[in-house]
């Protein structure tokens, strides 16, 4: 059912959910910390010095909250929000509710970059190399896909989609080759496989600062093209005849989404289903207009990934489950449930 509460209500609700998710994400873990302490530590960092008395909070709690869990939760929030925004944009651009941010080869390219960084030993030298390689791989593959799919200054979305699929499997093969050549080294193979399953273990403030600028920049671009995306859903010809510079818009939106996806892959590995499921669910609830869809997806993606990461950390603690496994196993059934229910109500997307 699509309900139409006013926009303010939706965003107040989503903001509250996000705050709850952040506090829950920091409170629970291998050792639980009361949410009240978490809230006080966070407030003491945000508000001016001395406003919040934290003298009774132990040094250990402080370190766990501020240096270990907060950055991890923030990385989850940025990755989740970013992937959901990029997913919503791709679904709009391709007029296909089943499109996801990696549809133009960004994830495959990112993986290849990361696997190279691990296999060639760069990743062991500095924590900056792996994200850098992944980011370059992601943007590089979009560039190649776009160049191949563009003819006479036009880039038909169907061609773009097929080129993306073809190039993704080609890059996938190259990735497999690198992995298979390195398989004699148990360490390297495990590191690669773990990375490809996606995860936020031992993410620090450095990672927050690596992803935040790209997600913020990508979001700004997204916000600048909300109305154009609505019009693109009517078909490119209709959009163009209503004054949208279709090819320019496409290029800018693809670039913005690739910046986000590339940065997300770089800091968290491959995390599936967020970019596909979150915007889809949000669209079913509040309708296809991007003015609401994009911001609501951002909140929804952040909340979803924070909770997914919480489950990944706590389900069989002290062991961690890889985050990509959790997002897919929550995302896929929920998606199927929506799809079937939606069929029953015979409501269209």
């Amino acid at each position: 059912m699509r309900f139409k509460p006013n926009t303010l209500f939706i965003f107040v609700l989503l903001s509250v959910l996000l705050i709850v998710a952040i506090i829950a994400g920091i409170s629970f873990g291998s050792a639980n910390i009361p949410p009240s302490i978490v809230a006080r530590v966070l407030l003491s960092k945000v508000l001016p010095n001395g406003w919040i008395n934290t003298s009774d909070i132990s040094e250990t709690d402080f370190v766990v909250i501020w240096l270990i869990r907060t950055p991890r939760v923030l990385v989850a929030a940025f990755v989740g929000a970013g992937l959901a925004i990029a997913g919503a944009q791709m679904q709009g651009l391709f007029k296909n509710p089943l499109a996801s941010p990696d549809i133009v080869g960004t994830s495959a390219g990112g993986s290849f970059g990361a696997v190279l960084a691990i296999a060639l030993g760069f990743a062991a030298r500095s924590i900056f190399y792996l994200p850098l390689f992944a980011f370059i791989g992601a943007l590089g593959s979009l560039f190649i896909v776009y160049q191949i799919a563009t003819q006479r200054g036009r880039t038909p979305t169907a061609t773009l989609l097929l080129t993306g699929i073809a190039l993704s499997s080609l890059i996938g093969a190259a990735t497999s080759l690198v992995i298979s050549l390195k398989f004699y080294s148990y360490e390297v193979a495990v590191q690669i496989l773990f990375w490809m399953m996606g995860g936020l273990d031992s993410r620090t403030w450095i990672h927050v600062f690596m992803i935040a600028p790209f997600v913020l920049l990508g979001s700004a671009i997204a916000l600048f093209y909300l109305r154009e995306l609505d019009l693109m859903l009517l078909g490119e010809e209709a959009a163009e005849s209503l004054g949208v510079e279709v090819e320019t818009t496409k290029r800018i939106i693809l670039t913005g989404a690739a910046l986000i996806t590339g940065a997300a892959v770089a800091v968290s590995g491959i995390i599936g289903f967020v970019g596909l499921v979150v915007p889809h669910i949000v669209r079913l609830m509040i309708g296809p207009s991007h003015k609401r869809l994009i911001p609501a997806s951002a909140f929804g993606g952040a909340v979803f990934l924070i909770f997914a990461d919480l489950v990944a950390r706590t389900l069989i603690k002290p062991e961690e489950i890889r985050l990509g496994i959790i997002t897919a196993s929550i995302g896929a059934p929920f998606f199927l449930y929506l799809l079937l229910r939606h069929k029953k109500e015979s409501m269209t997307l």
Partner: protein
């Protein structure tokens, strides 16, 4: 205002000319119908008129200025186009769709003003979809959706309206409504051009006809001068038999050539 002129226009794709050597003009106050067999270049011609396609040769002018000197947005303020395919997969409401017609007039982050709301309501009324305003466009019948897209075009308040077979999905009553609306808009001083398959509709409602065949212009002129039995017979490969309706308008009955 609202004048479109094509001079020696041709459009070629991979060595094949979809239209060639076309010289036509559309003027304010005229309801021009564009007729011709399938594949005669009607849709291509309309796309060239809106700048959706760039001519391979010749020039398209809007109000005496080359179309490529206008931005997309400026073109959209002056020319509106109702494409043949009006399918929409996403559950926008009718009102949201029609409001999108205001896009060429809105600033990047500008909100809709009273003027926009007025234009939208007016468009909803005139296309007879005001009672559908809050329905999802995905739940509408083909004919209802067609009228919604026409409303979206009206909401642009453009001087030139180009419609590609707008009556194709409509029942007879709504087809008449749309044709009468086109007539009325032309009488109010707009430039209206509609691709039509129904020659009798063309004869009844339009005052000017552009007749195309195999990518070439056969003739442009007053309806009564272009819709002649001999021309129709030649272009459509039929035998046309012209009679008169009670109000004096011509009616054509067609027989397949060689089978009479």
């Amino acid at each position: 205002m609202g004048e479109i002129a094509l001079k020696n226009v041709g459009y070629e794709i991979e060595g094949r000319w979809l239209v060639r050597n076309v010289n036509v003009s559309l003027r304010a106050g005229n309801f021009t119908s564009l007729i011709g067999p399938n594949g005669s270049g009607k849709t291509t011609l309309m796309r060239l008129m809106t700048g959706l396609l760039l001519p391979s040769e010749g020039q398209v002018k809007l109000n005496d200025k080359h179309l490529d000197e206008y931005t997309r947005r400026e073109i959209a303020q002056n020319i509106t186009f109702v494409p043949q395919d009006t399918h929409i997969d996403f559950a926008f409401t009718v009102k949201e769709i029609v409001t999108m017609g205001r896009h060429p007039h809105l600033g990047k982050f500008g909100r809709e003003t009273a003027k926009d709301t007025y234009a939208v309501n007016e468009a909803l009324e005139r296309a007879d979809v005001a009672d559908l305003a809050n329905r999802y466009v995905t739940e509408l019948s083909g004919g209802e959706r067609q009228r919604v897209i026409i409303a979206r075009s009206l909401a642009t308040e453009a001087e030139v309206l180009l419609l590609d077979e707008p009556t194709a999905n409509l029942d007879i009553a709504h087809a008449i409504d749309v044709l009468e609306l086109c007539r009325k808009l032309a009488d109010e001083g707009k430039t209206v051009c509609t691709a039509l398959h129904d020659i009798n509709a063309s004869a009844r409602y339009s005052n000017e006809v552009i007749l195309m065949n195999k990518g070439e212009l056969i003739s442009q002129g007053l309806t009564e001068n272009v819709l002649k039995e001999d021309k129709l017979n030649e272009v459509f490969q039929v035998c046309a038999d012209q009679t008169q309706a009670a109000d004096g308008k011509p009616i054509f009955t067609f027989y397949r050539a060689g089978k009479i």
